[in-house]
Symmetry: C2
Subunit: 229 residues, 2 copies
């Protein structure tokens, strides 16, 4: 299986920043390393790109192998290629970020028996390699992107209340939003459709459930529509 090349090549990996949301704040999925270097440190899930799979395929495969997550929103973030970012040898990594809703997915211990866990962005352990930098880049991108692309929905279940949606935006943007203005703006896009359903098992007036209209968004996007919160 070994292979010889005329010139030395950097190793190529993918790393994935998986974001989720709980009541309090943004969470990120980390894996505890069981090998040197950085043994015992927490790191982003990821691994080597095989020669017969695309970068995104590699990202999805590694994510499922290490955390059990699949069928999630995944987008390329940036490629990190500083010469010394890995102490062993030259490693270039293509970073992706992913958004999941905590309720919809089981996160299980990885197949490699490594430890996988969610961490609040406000309470992170020290990370291996340059993963703190990758994470910071992902966080910045998320904050920027959420304002002009409808990706907030990826962090929620398919049916959600406007309160939940506002909460998503408040946590990502890091500031409170006005309820009435938020509802006006969101509904005025026509992309959030009300359902004939209300939330269940709450100890107060139940809120109406809404759903994001993906097809309408796809149609509008092609016409140069510009979503904005």
């Amino acid at each position: 299986m070994s292979k010889t090349y005329e010139y030395p090549r950097p190793a190529l990996t993918v790393d994935i920043v998986v974001f989720a949301l709980d009541e309090e704040d943004l969470q990120v999925m980390l894996i505890q390393r069981d090998l040197a270097p950085f043994e015992g440190r927490w790191a982003l899930p990821g691994g080597f790109v095989r020669v017969d799979e695309s970068l995104e395929e590699a990202g999805r495969r590694e994510l499922e192998e290490e955390t059990g997550l699949k069928d999630i929103y995944l987008e390329q973030l940036y490629t990190f290629g500083e010469v010394t970012r890995d102490p062993r040898e030259r490693v270039v990594t293509v970073a992706y970020y992913a958004l999941v809703n905590l309720a919809g997915h089981d996160i299980h211990a990885s197949s490699d028996a490594r430890n996988a866990a969610w961490f609040s962005l406000n309470d992170l352990p020290e990370l291996a390699f340059d993963h703190d930098q990758i994470l910071a880049t992902a966080h910045t991108r998320l904050r920027g992107k959420v304002r002009y692309q409808p990706i907030g929905f990826e962090l929620l279940p398919r049916k959600f209340t406007l309160r939940q949606l506002q909460h998503v935006y408040e946590i990502i943007l890091g500031r409170p939003l006005d309820k009435r203005n938020f509802r006006k703006k969101v509904l005025s896009t026509g992309l959030i459709v009300p359902l004939e359903e209300i939330e269940q098992d709450v100890a107060h007036r139940a809120a109406r459930l809404y759903q994001f209209d993906n097809r309408k968004y796809a149609r509008l996007s092609k016409q140069g529509f510009h979503f904005e919160i």
Copy 2:
């Protein structure tokens, strides 16, 4: 110099989309290939990443080797890694885009004796590999980015008239802008400072020259300032 690895590795390259502007439209720098595959076809400048240089260093090195361009605005675009994008073997490429002003740089034939030339985006030859896709991605990014980051200046000489600046925006955005509104908006940022100088050798009333205040922009950026046209 050859090297053996336990597992096969994709080759890693960088490709650069260099934009410039003439009176009419956006131009891109292409190189005519003198080797198979796609011999004789036009392609983006680029080449292999060495193990002892970062990705951006590789991009700048290749660009200077192949086109003579240096000290220009360069930013990472996207990493393309489809399995079959190169017919020879698995090649992953980190794409960058660059902005230059035509007047300020000499573009010379490459050291590899390959042919380098500017092409209008509206009149492109067929490109090698997936370079048409890379170019399209770069064009989209440029159009998006120009609206909320002051990169339009990179396409102009250091001293420019407001007419020239408006022209840059009109060509990138692909639509005419109102002269008075444009001037108001641009000047209201305080980042474009008037000089005690006017343009020379024009057959009509000469316009005042302006200059972008990089230091002020850097200062404002840190404070979360949001440039927008």
